[in-house]
Symmetry: C2
């Protein structure tokens, strides 16, 4: 049986998940990559090195984040968020940036994100990171369970 998830169930899944997939789009060509994030209220916070994804999201802030827990074909749930990219580099976002850093450090996600990127730097070179957050504009979720069949 497949059920629509309530908003509460969607938020619970976002809250306990740290790995999702982030899709952005340029000239209607979508692009999707794994992302580590920390969900807090209406935002998914993350950090990244500069690269195609950041450039695309700067040009077009409409994004989509998908998270799921898939055990097997009869036991899974998936939440899809339509959202808006907001970069936290400018001085006026200092508070949000340190909030993002704190959330991500708490989950030990900072280092993964900085590494999990296309721009490969030598170990001695400074890795420039960009903090950003995705505002949740809408979310939908589906869950399947075998129990009620």
């Amino acid at each position: 049986m497949i059920f629509e998830m309530t908003e509460r169930e969607c938020r619970d899944l976002l809250g306990r998940t740290s790995l999702g997939r982030l899709a952005c789009s340029q000239d209607n060509q979508p692009y999707v990559i794994p992302i580590y994030f920390a969900f807090d209220f209406d935002y998914a916070y993350s950090v990244s090195t500069l690269g195609q994804k950041i450039e695309w999201m700067r040009a077009n802030p409409k994004v989509c984040v998908e998270v799921d827990e898939i055990a097997d074909r009869s036991d899974w749930r998936s939440v899809v968020v339509l959202g808006t990219y907001q970069e936290l580099t400018e001085p006026q976002y200092a508070d949000e940036r340190s909030h993002a850093r704190s959330l991500l450090e708490k989950r030990s996600l900072w280092w993964q994100n900085a590494l999990g990127e296309r721009q490969l730097k030598s170990e001695t070179e400074l890795i420039q990171t960009t903090f950003f957050r995705i505002h949740v504009d809408s979310m939908t979720g589906l869950r399947a369970t075998a129990e009620s069949r």
Copy 2:
């Protein structure tokens, strides 16, 4: 250490993976959902019930498929495919459609796909399915290992 994957390594990962994430886009709003697929030569074959994803891909066939194997932050690989949606419903695609069915049945993926969709039907109602394939236009992959550090 992070390495670019060779095309062979990318194809190997696509070949042994059946769960990926498919992104499509409409008016530059990306949308990403889990997808079960079977990779064969330059195509990822799948099946779906009608729904937002099919409608969007009919309107804009530019898509992106991402597959990954993520063990932890220092042991992961991810392949991103930019591709083109091709629906296999018309009579001239009968061969491709039965090829898709055969590939998907071999991997027992048919039923998951038909169920894993937004359009919820009653058990007595016929579930209309749409076979399609994604042509691989380009692919890139990254892998991380702790060993070479």
